[in-house]
Amino acid sequence: MTINDIKDILKATYIIGEEHGEKEVHTACGSDMMSDVLAFYKDQSVLLTGLCNPQVIRTAEMMDIICIVFVRGKVPDEMTVELAREKGIALISTGHRMFSACGRLYEEGLRGGASYR
């Protein structure tokens, strides 16, 4: 699945990073708690979150996450967007809530990646 596919499935819009649209995403993670995201270990991932601060971008950077989906129509502030631009991370925003956004991507075949323990 590509970032463009995710954008279409979630009827989302790009905030920045349209040029990364054809990059492949293999796994996804949905959380507002960044430490939970940091516990998850897979590359080429997408993060779905309702949190809108620079630490979301930092977390994505550390994890090599290539795309962040902001749910519930959220859009982060300019400083956060700028940091993502600097790090080459695509940001998209969808009107879906977390549960339905995750559900739609799962339905289309995207999986979590982290094993259940």
Partner: protein, 145 residues
């Protein structure tokens, strides 16, 4: 690469928006040096969690990173309040972070457990009222499951 590279970072107190700059810098440097992306990621996450902890709990501190070809060592030093029960602090889900930190996406009680998971060796020393020292080592050859 020289036999050993030592990096030193001062972590400012209570500047949450800048948290992660030191870890980002280390990640960039390790990538440039050609370390395996998985090793780089493990170092970056371990250091980032430690950096966040320092800002949330200890009014900042400093971090030394010692890079050699076979291992990367991260040493965190702070003069914060100290950890009362280290064993409890190392267990997943235990947190003493205030509510305002939780609204920023941290304080889930996963900081030290994540640092332990991503490193090959971790040692925490703490004195109440004096501060905390965390030593974490990541072997360059060993891979995470």
């Amino acid at each position: 690469m020289n036999d050993q590279i030592v990096l030193h970072y001062e972590i400012p107190s209570d500047d949450f928006t800048r948290a992660g700059e030191a870890s980002s810098n280390v990640k960039k440097k390790l990538k440039k040096m050609g370390f395996d992306p998985e090793i780089v990621r493990r170092v970056a996450i371990t250091m980032y969690e430690g950096e966040i902890n320092m800002i949330i709990h200890a009014n900042g501190g400093y971090i030394d990173v010692i890079i050699t070809l076979d291992k990367i060592e991260i040493i965190f030093n702070d003069s914060g309040p100290g950890i009362e029960n280290i064993e409890l602090a190392m267990s997943a889900g235990f947190s003493t972070a205030p509510d305002n930190i939780r609204s920023l996406g941290f304080g889930a009680g996963m900081g030290l457990p994540n640092m332990k998971n991503y490193s090959d060796e971790i040692n925490v020393e703490s004195k109440i009222g004096k501060g905390t020292k965390v030593y974490a080592k990541i072997l360059v050859t060993k891979r995470i499951d």
